[in-house]
């Protein structure tokens, strides 16, 4: 079974994307996100600590913060 943690994605005051996994108290900056354009948002996300997650791509950038279920890669 793949782990699908609930994650809150928000923008910090410097405008960087941050990733927060409440169950694990993991608060980490996002270094890259696969789709960040006007027509798609999400895909593979990499965090500062090297871990990777997959967000089911959305059709447009969402209003942040947002709670999502993501897949740990």
């Amino acid at each position: 079974m793949s782990i699908m943690p609930n994650v809150i994605i928000r923008k910090n005051q410097q405008g960087q994307l941050s990733f927060y996994v409440p169950k694990k108290d993991l608060e980490e900056m996002v270094v890259s996100i696969e789709y960040d354009g006007p027509s798609a948002w999400g895909g593979e996300v990499q965090l500062v600590d090297g871990s990777k997650y997959y967000i089911e791509p959305l059709e447009a950038p969402p209003q942040l913060p947002l709670t999502l279920r993501v897949k740990r890669l």
């Binding site: 928000r10 409440p22 108290d25 608060e27 980490e28 913060p65 947002l66």
Partner: protein, 491 residues
Amino acid sequence: MTERTRTENEALIQEVLKAYPEQTKKDRAKHLMVNDKNVDKSKKCIISNKKSQPGVTTMRGCAYAGAKGVVWGPIKDMVHISHGPVGCGAYTRAGRRNYYSGFTGVNNFVTINFTSDYQEKDIVFGGDKKLEKMIDEVEMLFPLHKGISVLSECPIGLIGDDIEAVARKKSKQINKPIVPVRCEGFRGVSQSLGHHIANDSIRDWLLSKRDEDNSFETTPYDVSILGDYNIGGDAWSSRVLLEEMGLRVVAQWSGDGSLSEMELTPKVKMNLLHCYRSMNYISRHMEEKYGIPWLEYNFFGPTKIAESLRKIASHFDSKIQEGAERVIAKYQPTMDAVIAKYRPRLQGKKVLLYVGGLRPRHTVGAYEDLGMEVVGTGYEFAHNDDYDRTMKDMKDATLIYDDASAHELDEFVKVLKPDLVGSGIKEKYGFQKMGVPFRQMHSWDYSGPYHGYDGFAIFARDMDMTINNPCWSKIPVPWKQADKSSLAATA
């Protein structure tokens, strides 16, 4: 004062661990660290929020303590029922000194212990009927209460009472909110999960109550104070500063807070968060649902207060920014006088802290303002994100400990020889008997407030009064006595 090096502190940790059996040693080693400023993520150095070791005296509380004692208990115009046997509520009643205004027993119930006092028959047959009866009695005896929270103690979860159903039914009958909180003590590893459960119950049962109601007149300067429990008046001495700089404080969570303040919080422009640990959950929720940004601040000591006021003001217009400067300038002379008086008496003194919530990192600035140095710090129930923040605030090579045991603290104190230990009531008498100056830093040792400018003056006085008290050298510590034979005689 010679600073301890990283190697010395690492050796100390190894020394302390020697007392444990193999498995415990391995586990406890993960909870002790020496601060390294080059590491930005605490999880590489310290493990936290894990079950305490059996047989080791932990200083933690239970989930009920976190939900009732910390988050729900201080809300003044609600009745908080300790649902279950009588002890949990009786032994924690009024211990946190959350100050409030109003008339106790009339429109205000913080220090009254309401309990359903479970007996054997309630455990056997279930206690839902008893809870219903109790709610009727509350309604009759205290008609001015604004709502009820039902805080489950351990047996409620074990016997499977349906407090949610009772809450829904009775809430309709009395036409006031009744919030069931599933904070049985056995949930989680410490009081920390209780904070989270309490936050979630506020989110699910209260927060959206006025979403459709726009009758509340808002201003662009509305803020709320989250995670200030008004211990000894802390929230009051914080609130005045925000108001003086031109902001309007709509709600205090939860010290001296009220039900309607909580319900109005989704209308504010910004949530100001003091205790991150106990209220970050609801802050994050309000950010997501209502788009209200939240900001962590620190009102301990003039340096951090000024920094925080400017940080808060930077999110508002120039009127507020000028207001912040005005407030800082107004209190500066008073603060200079406090520092001039106490710093010479406290300069170079070493402090060892072991507390909870925000204090192990937030009070550091206040000690530094007095020329003191924190040589060791630790939390009872912190998580990784707290240690991330702590590592930034502490000096390099400072000793950091998570869920420390009595043995560990004793040994740290013997070796680090702090001039002051700041911890809780469970640690207080042990250290005092060792002749070590001690302040109870959970509820300020019957003093306070310590937040804000007014609070700093009291903080400085209290630290001086404790450290420079002549009593400490008069305490006959058995192992410091030269004459061992007299000890043997009394043994």
